[in-house]
């Protein structure tokens, strides 16, 4: 997947010289995960900029760059360090268009890896997406496949709204689906049916989609047919796409890496039970991390929901009586 992101950045920078990439270690090093590898050599130090270590001004100056007529792509080295820029993202990026009554559009993309499973140090692995989905004015996308990574990033960079683009740390090297060479976009706000099924709708995004797919495979051996939805975009949310699936299955499980309480799963449950109340045959279940901080790497496999757990909980859901 990391290659798809890098390729997309290169193509967009080639096509539009207003695109600049800024962040910690994005230049000479090419990013700690090499998402921007080679870009500085290709486009110069002005367009791929190693920033001082200060997330607040990285994001805040990105706003200013956009105001000057550029289209900045900001890399936050890890989403956990978005907290340092939270006032700029939550109150400035998300609101500039509204606060200026449309005078200042903000074509700005914040890319950031997030999520666990690769034994990073503390505070590097948290799945903090829910903070940003509660931030009107900001769009949030989280691709699970390399194909979508490329197409959604292109769409995000094309958009005149600010977009938080979340990359699954775990999927960087593991996810290796086919990616066309040419430029294409995947629309923001449309989910992907990752696997069709009839008994249970299993909703996930980012790295959890892969867990969901593997669980669905195992469940199919138990005779349970699971439809896996890859949301791709958390805001805008494809409510129609979700409802369509739920109307068919009547049973829903939501899978996410973040802690239960206040996770984006709650929003999905609330929306689904509103839209599909009379189709539901059992309570919607949430499969998530517990309400505790992300732990050290040695126990992260106990923290993040794994295939076994998803299989067990979805199997129980499939059997729950109406």
């Amino acid at each position: 997947m990391i290659e798809a992101i890098r390729e997309c950045l290169g193509q967009e920078m080639e096509a539009d010289n207003r695109v600049v990439v800024i962040g910690e270690d994005v230049g000479v090093l090419g990013g700690v995960f090499r998402a921007t590898d080679g870009l500085q050599a290709r486009f110069g130090k002005d367009r791929v900029v190693d920033m001082p270590l200060a997330e607040g001004v990285i994001v805040g100056s990105g706003i200013g760059l956009a105001m000057s007529g550029l289209r900045p792509v900001i890399e936050l080295q890890f989403l956990g360090f978005g907290h340092q820029a939270f006032h700029q993202i939550g109150q400035q990026v998300a609101r500039l268009r509204y606060r200026s009554q449309g005078r200042h559009s903000l074509p700005l993309v914040i890319r950031s890896p997030f999520g666990g499973g690769v034994r990073t140090p503390e505070l590097h692995s948290d799945a903090f997406e829910a903070f940003y989905t509660h931030t009107p004015g900001l769009k949030v996308v989280a691709p699970a496949t390399a194909y979508d990574a490329k197409g959604l990033l292109a769409a995000a960079m094309e958009s005149d709204d600010p977009v938080l683009y979340l990359e699954p740390l775990k999927g960087y090297r593991l996810t290796k689906d086919e990616v066309p060479d040419e430029r294409y976009t995947v629309p923001l706000g449309k989910l992907r049916v990752a696997r069709a099924g009839a008994d249970v709708t299993l909703i996930a995004w980012s790295a959890a989609v892969n867990v969901a797919e593997r669980a669905a495979e195992e469940l199919s051996e138990q005779g349970i047919s699971v439809e896996v939805l890859d949301l791709r975009s958390l805001n805008p949310l494809d409510i129609d796409g979700v409802s369509e699936s739920v109307a068919k299955t009547g049973r829903v499980a939501i899978l996410h890496e973040a802690p239960l309480t206040g996770g984006f799963g709650g929003e999905l449950v609330a929306t689904i039970q509103q839209e599909c109340f009379y189709s539901l045959e059992a309570p919607i279940i949430r499969i998530s991390a517990p309400d505790t901080p992300y732990p050290l790497g040695g126990v992260e496999d106990l923290y993040i929901p794994d295939v076994d757990r998803v299989v067990a909980e979805v199997a129980a859901l499939a059997k729950a009586s109406a």
Binding site: V57, G60, S61, G64, G69, H87, L96, Q101, N235, P236
Partner: protein, 361 residues
Amino acid sequence: MSESRFLPNFEPIAPFSRLTDSGILDSGESPMSDDAVIEALRYMMLTRVFDDKATSMQRQGRFGTFSSVRGQEASVVGAATALDPTKDWIVPQYREFPALIRHGYPIENFALYFMGNPKGGTIPSNVNMLPMQISLAAQIPQATGLAWGLKMQGGDGVVITFFGDGASSEGDFHESLNLAGIMKAPVIFFLQNNGWAISTPRENQTAARSFAERAIGYGVEGVMVDGNDLLAVHEVTTQAVAKARAGGGPTLIESVTYRTGAHNTADDPTRYIDQQELEKWQQKDPVERVKNYLRSRGIWNENLEQELLDSCAAQIDAAMESARNTPLATSDALFNHVYAEPPQRMLDQKRDWAIRNGDAQ
């Protein structure tokens, strides 16, 4: 044993000034033509008229919580008049009314904003400014990025950002000056040290002898100026603008002034202000100082004063009237301009809101 580790124990710097307290110019040449001074004075007087009007309207419940510029008129106007509105940008805090007006932001919008009407936020497309900033210091990184971006694209526009002594304690200040130093961004950090952050006096804000000295730590030039001296502020800012335009990078200007009014219309400064200090500063009133200067030049008289006052009052009254006559916003004001391409969910809400409130869709 080397002693080079110690920083030099240099004398504190003092604010640069051109006029005496009673408005007499020093022996050098004036940095502003008489016409320019009169124009600047008119902005200062306009500000007083506006502040008085807005404050009294606020007392009658016809205006929101609002911060007057009282005492700082020379500081704001001296800086603003150093800018070229066609290419320079203002990134404001909230206490810079005359700077925004001179730059082209309509008084009416300013008023509407404080009346709570979202239309007030509208920045005309030819006016180079960012919205007023309530989240203190959050504008400083934005100003830095804007300046850096202008430079990167080969323009010669300069950005000025205003902020207070209080705001300078925020991390955003540090991160921005540091970045500006690295990028040699054409930005002027205009710190209005007005002695207070609400009730917190400058001594409780920092143990630094001056804010200007902070510039050293970023490889940036720092200057301290008497903020109640229109000519000095104008001169120093003009130099900083010229330097930035020529590629010389950022300047931190500490404008030493004093907030002689309340923090805002909700504040009761008698609870904390030192009356003697206040009176001392009231003696240094920046508006009177400019008038005295013009008197010393022999071009100020009561007729001119009355004429200017009348024209200011007429201008403010017209703008206020027009703001008052602007229809209250309807529910679509919650939804318009949030996104360039709004999510369906928000559009559905917009429709529901319109139906519920009986607003046109």
